[in-house]
Amino acid sequence: MFFITYLRRELRRRMRQAIFIALGLALGIGLVVTVTAASAGVRKAQSDVLKSLYGVGTDVTVTGAAPRSFRPGSAPPKGAQQFMLGPGGAQVCQNGKCHSAAGMTIDHLSPQNYGPISQSNVAAVAALKDVKAAVGGLTLTDDGVKIPKNFGKPGSGSAPPQPNSFNVDGVDTSHLSMGPLSAGTIASGRSLTSADANSNVAVVDSGYAKTHKLKAGKKVSIAGHSFTVVGIVTQPQSGAPPDMYIPLDRAQALGTNPRTGKSLRNEVNTIYVTAASASDISVVQSEISKLLPHATVTTAASLASQVTGSASSAAKLANDLGKWLSILVLIAAFAVASLLTMAAVARRVREFGTLKALGWRSSRIIAQVIGESVAIGIVGGAVGVALGIAGAKIIDAVAPNLTASIATGTGQRVQTAGGGGGAQSFTPNVTHTVAVPMSVSVTAGVIVVAVLLAIAGGLLAGSFGGWRIARLRPADALARVA
């Protein structure tokens, strides 16, 4: 085909210039591919973090207002249980009445990060116009401690008791497709089912199970009750998923509100919401905020903005510096390609004038020039994709695990015994830090975009040349250089 022959011969003639243009485009496209792949890797890591926290399919999470902290020295709220050290040794006090805690095992299952929300609100949220589904859950912490007999008595020399804490999530077994258990994979045994609603059964996180040598069929104690482990679940990231999942009804029955000392029946502290469509998420957020003004309403987007740590820094680096660097290099490459193509056209004025004299239409000559530019662009694109994949592989190989930290609540309250006999309280760090392996991969979509960019670069450069050819009058073209 004459078009190809002519194109090939011309590119061979100005091979050095063609290589220069192709390399410029390759550099720009390689950067785009690498940065896009890295961004996608970081975004995936962030998404995994969020999924591990809230499960798949959840667009909006509603959590109860965090309980207020005690002020040290202030009177505890009515019904709250206090562990105190006094001259007579360790004591447990409730509503002003104290009794010795010596030799006692204290085991509480209570919400620590989020305040309770009435379960009727779950149905109210589910009934909102733009909500597809809503399901409640209880995020609780089991704090167990065995008090030595002589602990706190002068001269006893007893070491302070070591509390045993783990996180328990009450899961609505009739809606298992949402919530924190939905993102996990059952490694052994089985998941919870709707038949388990009133059973003392638990699914244990694989990390916790490994540390505590638990497997399906074993027993665990939750709030002083024996639960059978029916399955081991692995969450997408090994950060801080709940240690155990139990049926919501059981969590409500066994959990106590530390402020009132009452059970959590008909209460949840987290509502997982799926919007009718992705575009409705902000509307849903606003509707829920109106319905539950004291609750915290979080979307995946707002949660993502709270993610800190190296994953977040990497995302910023990829999005800001990487994106702008790619755009700048691409613009420079396109500009150089366009200028060199115009220069090449200027040098070939007599050639094009001759072709016009032979009866070639301007469009045919322009197509020839654009064909040459696009061919260079495709070569540049191919090299660019190869460079981009190599760059992504290098990042994949040398990038350390990223860490993502996210605050999941405020005002978690833990009371501890103070040496002076008074109660002390503090607010521990309630930040989840997750180690995220960064997997950079080049997708077919990125390659398609890269090839389209290369073709666009070629078309742009060729169009500048074509514009010049279109304006060329054959007599002038022949006279100018003759």
């Binding site: 002519y6 003639r13 001759t354 032979l358 070639w360 301007s362």
Partner: protein, 268 residues
């Protein structure tokens, strides 16, 4: 073939308007060989561009086979050039990256001729100019004379009605010049071409049936053959064309014969 009526071509040079061709009225018959002489800058190449549809007149009409080139749309003029007009340039104007055969083939591209037919016609054209064995050579690998032969093959491969030659021997030595002119004369006779040849060389001009001299945009034509064809010129001995130097097909043009025909009227 051609009927030019009151053709004027003006160029703008800054604020000045320069007339390249003024009020030119001319008839060129089918199969006629017209040589155009004149000093540099007096409008010879402009006239050739106007005849080839490479430029449009400022006023007047240029009828080619009944069509006014001045009024045709660009794509229509392109079509006329592609089918009916062959060009030969002083500097050969071959595409340096294409072989001899591919340069000749380029003239057939606008005609959308099938590849096999293109190759057949290219081979025949190169054969007719004696370059069958050089078809794969690039222009840079050929002498000036050979390059001009390729250019002639390119001009003739589409079997045009008109051949417009702008100083075709201007870049050649004398021997090669004679060789090229002999070739042109032979092809003109054999194919019944209308040949308009711009030249500074009086010896070459005198081989034509008529000689026109351009001076300050005006053309003065000498010689009386306004209608004879190349075929007709060959067949009727004693015509004006022969008196003006129509080469005898049996007797190739030689340097000696051309020099004897040359006069002191060389204009450059």
């Amino acid at each position: 073939m051609y009927q030019l009526t009151d053709v004027t071509k003006l160029y703008s040079k800054g604020r000045r308007t320069v007339p390249a061709v003024r009020d030119l009225t001319l008839t060129i018959g089918d199969g006629e060989w017209l040589a155009v002489q004149g000093r540099t800058g007096h409008g010879k190449s402009t006239l050739l561009n106007l005849l080839g549809g490479l430029d449009r007149p400022t006023s007047g009409s240029i009828e080619f086979d009944g069509k006014n080139l001045a009024k045709l749309r660009e794509n229509q003029v392109n079509r006329v050039r592609a089918t009916s007009i062959g060009f030969i340039f002083q500097t050969f104007n071959l595409v340096s990256t294409l072989s001899a055969a591919e340069n000749v083939e380029a003239a057939l591209i606008p005609l959308r001729v099938h590849a096999a037919e293109r190759h057949r016609r290219v081979a025949a054209a190169l054969e007719s100019v004696g370059l069958a064995d050089r078809s794969r050579h690039l222009p840079g690998e050929m002498s000036g004379g050979q390059q001009q032969r390729v250019a002639i093959a390119r001009a003739l491969v589409k079997e045009p009605k008109v051949l417009l030659a702008d100083e075709p021997t201007g870049n050649l030595d004398e021997d090669t010049r004679d060789e090229i002119i002999t070739l042109l004369a032979r092809l003109w006779r054999e194919r019944g071409l209308t040949l308009v040849l711009v030249t500074h060389d009086t010896a070459i001009a005198q081989l034509a049936q008529r000689v026109g001299v351009m001076s300050k945009g005006h053309l003065t034509v000498h010689g009386g053959a306004s209608q004879p064809t190349a075929t007709g010129a060959r067949q009727s001995a004693g015509t004006d064309a022969q008196q003006l130097g129509d080469p005898d097909p049996a007797q190739p043009v030689t340097p000696g014969s051309m020099q004897s025909a040359a006069s002191d009227t060389r204009t450059d």
